[in-house]
Amino acid sequence: MGFFSKFRKKSPWILHYNTGGCNGCDIEILSALAPRYDIERFGMLNRGNPKQADILLVTGPVTKNCKDVLRRLYLEMAEPKVVVAMGACAHGGGIFRNFYHVENGVNNIIPVDVWIPGCAPRVEALIDGMVEAIEIWQQKSKEKEYLRDHEKVIKTLGVEDDG
């Protein structure tokens, strides 16, 4: 374990992106930042910058317009990184499955580590998922498997046509 990974687990920063959901999950994320649930006690802060973020929190079924943005956000984040998909429509589309402008879920675009089911999930479920995400994140940080898989990930995500 490197010097920084020791302290890293105390401050996982969140990048939140809505890929076309109904907004319900996003207001629950805002509730999680507020005093009642206070997700900051795990060191989590919602920061809008992908370059500084560790956990990508995605809501929504991924519309065709958001697809490229989501892929670029994922690629811009530094390793090790964890993706959390929140809400029923992030799990394969939910009620929006097979609509003409929908890509049926987050894992069709980027690999997902933690799933938080529900429409909309309770804030307790969100906190539970985020704590799980920290553990996976530490595991990734130790094993450094992202170095091994890097080529494969880049190939599947298709960076060349990013323009």
């Binding site: 992106y17 076309g20 109904c22 999950c25 207001i27 805002l30 317009n65 958001c66 009620i95 909309a120």
Partner: protein, 360 residues
């Protein structure tokens, strides 16, 4: 100084939803703006006439928007009941009205907290959200969920309310009122908060009428428009509805109008809880929707318009939705020109934009 182009969105810390603006700025003054609002388009109107039966429509339209799910579901339910000639009793009307008003309270508190955050008052954001949790508790006790309620069904509501929940709700609403008054007093009196919000993004009454604005944005400019007073769908006047108007038309006035409406809604909820009529919470439903109908309801952001057409089949022929944020986008673009870039966030969020409604 040359021109600098600043992108705002679609992923941005101040925005919970994807919307993107391209600001062309000159010495921090915005000279040109381009908006792209189509990120959230899912094709709900098409799916409503191909994939879903009319009994499932309230559940689909509730997912148009998480913040005002109850108004979208309510509009569809009201329209279909008109087409099928269903008369609901007074208890159902009152229960529906109660949840609609509670939803308005939580939506307005969220909007005000958000404005406070982007003008640099994170503490005020936290306090507003602390107050908001009380109304979320009440909603959870009545409907069973915090965000997506699925409370209104065709011919009634999903579950009844007993006196225990009513007592709990009254207690919580009293606490909420005290907290809201505290936060509102801060908005009213704080000098630095005023510097960031007063006189920013001013809409005159003439402008508001010309651009056909809706909801709190129009009422903050003194334009008296409210569907609750204009269209007869629920008996709001019986429980003490009053139109709230302000005349300043800036970011501060839009916040204050929302606070006024919160206080009015709390009063209405207390009246409903005190005089809840007896009766069944579901009535019998027969037949299929046939004919066409126009429904207007007041969402937290303004007028929400539904057009429904059915021809006696299980699937409707046409479902058309027009939402309040869509009506407010043209004037939003106009306000940016000549404003400082540092005020852009506050102007956007004072409109309380709901992109998942707008693009559907």
């Amino acid at each position: 100084m040359g021109k600098i182009i600043v992108p705002f969105g679609s992923q941005h810390i101040a925005l919970p939803e994807p919307i993107s603006f391209l600001f062309e700025t000159e010495n921090e003054i915005i000279t040109k703006v381009e908006a792209h609002i189509g990120y959230v388009h899912r094709g709900i109107e098409k799916a409503a006439i191909t994939k879903f039966e009319y009994t499932q429509l309230p559940y689909l339209t509730a997912r148009v928007c998480g913040l005002c799910s109850i108004t979208h579901a309510g509009a569809v339910v009201h329209g279909i009941e008109k087409l099928m000639d269903i008369e609901v009793n007074k208890r159902i009307d009152y229960l529906r009205m109660l949840v609609v008003e509670l939803d308005r309270i939580h939506s307005h508190l969220l909007a005000n907290g958000h404005v406070a955050e982007v003008v640099g008052y994170e503490n005020l954001f936290m306090q507003t959200f602390r107050a908001r949790e009380d109304v979320m508790d009440v909603l959870e006790a009545i409907t069973g969920n915090r965000v997506q309620y699925d409370y209104q069904t065709i011919g009634g509501v999903a579950r009844d309310m007993d006196s225990e929940i009513a007592e709990f709700a009254k207690k919580k609403l009293k606490k909420l009122k005290d907290n809201v008054l505290k936060v509102m007093e801060f908005h009213d009196s704080d000098y630095t908060f005023g510097l960031k919000t007063k006189g920013i993004g001013v809409i005159s009454k003439e402008m508001a009428a010309k651009y056909n604005t809706a909801g709190p944005v129009a009422r903050a400019s003194g334009l008296d428009t409210d569907v609750r007073a204009e269209f007869d769908y629920l008996p709001f006047e019986e429980v003490g509805y009053k139109m709230q108007l302000r005349s300043e038309g800036d970011v501060w006035a839009r916040n204050m109008v929302r606070f006024d409406e919160i206080l009015n809604s709390i009063e209405m909820c207390e009246n409903i809880l005190n005089n809840l009529p007896e009766g069944e919470y579901k009535v019998k439903v027969k037949g299929r929707p046939k004919g066409e109908v126009v429904v207007r309801v007041e969402a937290p952001r303004g007028e929400c318009f539904y057009y429904l057409r059915g021809s006696g089949k299980k699937v409707m022929d046409r479902v058309r939705i027009r939402v309040p944020t869509y009506a407010n986008i043209p004037i939003l673009k106009e306000l940016f020109l000549g404003a400082k870039y540092s005020d852009a966030q506050a102007i956007v969020l004072s409109f309380d934009p709901c992109m998942s409604c707008t693009a559907r």
